[in-house]
């Protein structure tokens, strides 16, 4: 076996989940290690925000995030582990104090809630 390119693309959690679901529900009976890893990975992914996402929402959200000059990794993290507080954004975006104003951070949070409304609901449940 030969590795041509050890990293030719990055996938977001949603893409992986969708692919693994089709592997799981495929007509060929999976057995052995593939069945184990698909089951375990799906169980993890279905507990993350990506369970409620869909490809159009992600595409639109990325379009709306363009003006903030975030790099690919940062956008990926915003999608994968959708933050709901300014503190979480501060963690994900390097030097966020210099690159983003408080309004920007607030706007990013609003954008995420607009495209992934389920994350806000979850927060309400926690508070209530």
């Amino acid at each position: 076996m030969e590795i041509v390119n050890s990293k030719c693309a990055t996938l977001c959690n949603y893409e992986v989940m969708e692919h693994l679901q089709s592997v799981r529900d495929g007509k060929n009976r999976n057995k052995g290690q593939l069945a184990t890893i698909t089951y375990e990975t799906l169980r993890y992914l279905e507990n993350t925000p990506c369970k409620e996402q869909n490809s159009t929402a992600i595409a639109n959200c990325l379009k709306d995030l363009e003006p903030y000059n975030l790099n690919k990794m940062e956008k990926l993290m915003l999608i994968n582990t959708t933050p709901t507080t300014p503190l979480e954004i501060q963690l994900m975006v390097e030097e966020s104090e210099e690159r983003l104003s408080e309004e920007d951070v607030e706007k990013i949070l609003q954008t995420l809630i607009k495209h992934f409304p389920h994350i806000e609901k979850k927060e309400n449940e926690v508070n209530s």
């Binding site: 030969e2 050890s6 693994l20 582990t81 503190l87």
Partner: protein
């Protein structure tokens, strides 16, 4: 946290699989070979993503199987350094906090990367963050097993776990068995990192 790795491989399809479509047979073989395995300096392989190119198949004299060179892309778990991930605490020990993602267990947060100041409680078998409340008092925040934790990936380590020759085997057997092919090091010593419940109202 997931990436696509591009690889090529000569796949041997045994004659009893000739009733299947070539693509399905190859996909099955590749998954059997790679799923849930760590490839050195690539990461933990999850599942076949797609086959990008199939070259001509050959049958060699003396072997009924067909051999096909195939180019494919595989879904691989390999978080970027500095990436923020969510996991569950598997256990705590003197070495630090062991975190699991369910499908991947080899994540360690060493004591030096815990919130400061932290101490390990032998009786509770848990790490405790002695949170300074500001008025001179300390509030103990426990890191119990099973809790969800947010952490930053700070380093990754790959280990070659090839079978060794018979001579070295006898001496280094124990060593080899304990070797973890791919492990991650995390940190939680920034505001916002650690148990999710710590920051809920912040």
């Amino acid at each position: 946290m997931f990436i696509l790795a591009e690889m090529k491989h000569v796949t041997r399809i045994r004659p009893e699989l000739f009733n299947l479509k070539l693509n399905d047979a190859i996909a099955g073989e590749l998954n059997k070979k790679l799923a849930n395995k760590v490839v050195l300096n690539v990461g933990l392989c999850i599942a076949l993503f797609d086959i990008t190119n199939l070259e001509e198949s050959y049958i060699f004299p003396g072997d009924g199987a067909s051999h096909t060179r195939v180019h494919f892309r595989y879904i691989v778990f390999r978080p970027a350094i500095e990436e923020i991930l969510l996991g569950k605490i598997r256990s705590c020990s003197q070495e630090g906090v062991h975190v699991s993602l369910g499908f991947f267990d080899d994540i360690l947060i060493p004591p030096s990367s815990l919130q400061h100041p932290s101490r390990f409680s032998e009786t509770e078998q848990a790490w405790i963050w002695e949170y300074d409340t500001g008025d001179g008092n300390k509030h103990d925040l426990f890191m119990d097993a099973g809790e969800t934790i947010r952490f930053r990936v700070t380093a990754e380590t790959f280990h070659e776990t090839c079978p060794t020759g018979p001579n070295i085997m006898q001496e280094g057997q124990d060593n080899n068995e304990n070797k973890i092919p791919y492990s991650l090091t995390g940190s939680v010593n920034e505001p916002g990192l650690g148990l999710l419940t710590w920051w809920e109202n912040g």
